[in-house]
Structures are given as structure tokens and as C-alpha cells.
Amino acid sequence: MTFGMTTQRLDRGVRLTPTSLSPATANAATIAGIGWSRFASPQAFDALAGRLIPGLFVAAVALLTAGLAIGFVVAPTDHQQGDAYRIIFVHVPAAWMAMVIYLAMAFWAAVGLVLNTRLSFMAMQALAPTGALFAFLCLWTGALWGKPTWGTWWVWDARLTSVLILLFLYIGFIALQAAIDDPRRADRAGALLALVGVVNVPVIYFSVQWWNTLHQGATISLRSAPTMAGTMLLALLLSTLGLWAYVAAAVLRRLRCIVLERERHAQWVGRLPELRS
């Protein structure tokens, strides 16, 4: 029964797209809509994700291993910060991912609220724990970097405080969704929180420019290229790409779990090849 109801809602959402556009673009939108709605179906998504996850995971392990090996073994010691600077190879990619994941979460929240597609809300829900993990890792590695270089684990400056708020937004989102029993209400409440909280992301990003922070400015900038050795840049690039692949794999894996848990009564779940073995 739940399945039939949500299918109806999905149809309604999909039909909105062509009618809200002019006749000239409606045709293209219908064609695009077919491809799009195919993967908005949890069944098609599950099969696609199942094919993508192993490759993404292998890429993540290979890129992260290469990035960290170059960063911790090959890259030269920094003349100001000594070897403490090497924390950058985990700290900066974690910070970037914490922000990118929040943007993705807000994006799927908006898509879900506008089109009423259940997979969008599930994607939003799947992103939150990994985002919280990276916000935590950003603060943890930042504290361990701050102690030897600044002389303190923590300071209430704009950058650090806004990242802490990001972690609280993730935790608040997870708690809010867990506290509401009706999944559809939980989705809508969570989506609203995710959207409101998105203003924090530019605040984090520009905090080092807007305010006088103890945190240093952006590391990657064309003008500062001579201060960063090529190997350092390569290590940072590889570990960042590796983390992108990891996040994609982990979020798809969690999304598959959520799809399976929510759709356990659906017919297509009963036909999954994994069940027969």
C-alpha cells in the first residue's frame, strides 16, 4: 500500500516538469525527463549503484593510498611548520568534503521539496552521516594541527566556529529525521533544515577573508604556488580525488541500504538476485 501511494506521488512530481515549461522546451524536457525519471526509481537506482560502488571504492583506495604516500613520504618538510604541516593532506580534503556534502544534501532537499521524489529525500538522508563524519574529522585534524602551530587546540574564531556549526547542523538533521516517525514528514522537516542551514557553507568558505581569523587563508591559490612544492600539491590533489570517490561510494552504499529498508515491502525488492542465493 505504501508502495502504491508513493508511486502516485512520484508520477505527480514528474508530470509537473513538462507542463510548467513553454511548448518549445517541453519536448526536450520530456525526453530529458524520461532519462531522469528512470533513475529516480529506487529499483533502477539500486541496480546502477550496485554496479558503481566497487569501482568507486577501488579508485578511492588507490587514490588515497597514492596521495597519502606522496604526502607523508615524498613531499618535503615545510620550513615554517616543520612536519606538522603534513596534517594538511587529511585536513583540507576532509574540510572540502564536509562542505560539498552539505551542498549536495541541500540540493537533494530542494529537489525533493519541489518534485516530491522519494529517492531525492533518501539521497539527502544518505549524505548526512558521512558529512557529519567529515566535519568531525576536519575539526579533529584541525585541533591536532592547531596545537603545535598555534599553541592551542581550539579558538573561537570565525572559521573554526562556523565548521562547528556545520557539524551541529548535520547532527541536528540526523536527530530531527530520527525523531519523526512518519517518513514523509521526517523528509520534509529534514529538507527544510538542510535548506536553511546551507547559508552556513559560504560563511565557512569566506570566513578567512571576511574576518580576522587565526586560521590561515586558502591553501590553494595561484599566487602562492611557489610556497607549495609540486609534490605537496600533487598529494593534496590525489587525496582529495580519493576522498571524492570514497564519499560517492559510501553515500551510494548507504542510500542502497535506505532504499532497501524503506521499500522492503515493494515487489521489486523480492526479485533481487541477491535474495535467491
Binding site: 571504492f57 597519502l68 607523508f72 613520504v73 615524498v74 613531499a75 618535503p76 618538510t77 616543520g82 612536519d83 606538522a84 603534513r86 596534517i87 587529511v90 585536513h91 576532509a94 552521516p129 558521512t130 563524519l133 568531525f136 574529522l137 579533529w140 585534524t141 591536532l144 594541527w145 596545537k147 603545535p148 609540486g230 609534490t231 570514497y246 559510501a250 552504499r253 548507504r254 542502497r256 541500504c257 532497501l260 529498508e261 522492503r264 515491502h265 525488492v269 523480492g270 533481487l272 541477491e274 535474495l275
Partner: protein
């Protein structure tokens, strides 16, 4: 560019005197990813087990009997 920044393995582990900060970051980072990945695998298996249980006719009959639903 020399391929290796360190003179010895001990040198590498010491991280120029910053060992506890550097390794404290890296180990927690790698462990967090590993724990998340393993936890997701367990969650998937649990969800699959739940689905299998739901599809098992014996489970459904037992549940219906408990609720007093006629066969």
C-alpha cells in the same frame, strides 16, 4: 626532487617531533573511513536479512496467526 624525504624509517615515524599530532590525525582519519565502510556493509546485510524474513511464508503465516488474521 629526491624520491624519499626521510633518512630512515624511525625518522619517518618521528615526523620531525610532531609524531603524535600527525599520526593522531592520520590514524583517526583512516580508522573513521574504515569503520564507516564496515558499518555500511553490516547495515546492508541486516536490511537483506529483514527482506528475506518478510518474504518467508512461514514468517507471514506466524505473524498473521498472532494477529488473528484468518488464513
Amino acid at each position: 626532487m629526491t624520491l624519499m624525504n626521510w633518512h630512515s624509517f624511525g625518522d619517518f615515524l618521528a615526523m620531525g617531533g610532531y609524531a603524535r599530532y600527525v599520526w593522531g590525525s592520520v590514524l583517526v582519519f583512516v580508522a573513521a573511513l574504515a569503520v564507516e565502510w564496515v558499518a555500511l556493509g553490516r547495515r546492508r546485510r541486516a536490511a537483506m536479512a529483514q527482506v528475506t524474513l518478510l518474504r518467508n511464508p512461514a514468517t507471514t503465516e506466524k505473524r498473521d496467526a498472532e494477529r488473528g488474521v484468518p488464513a
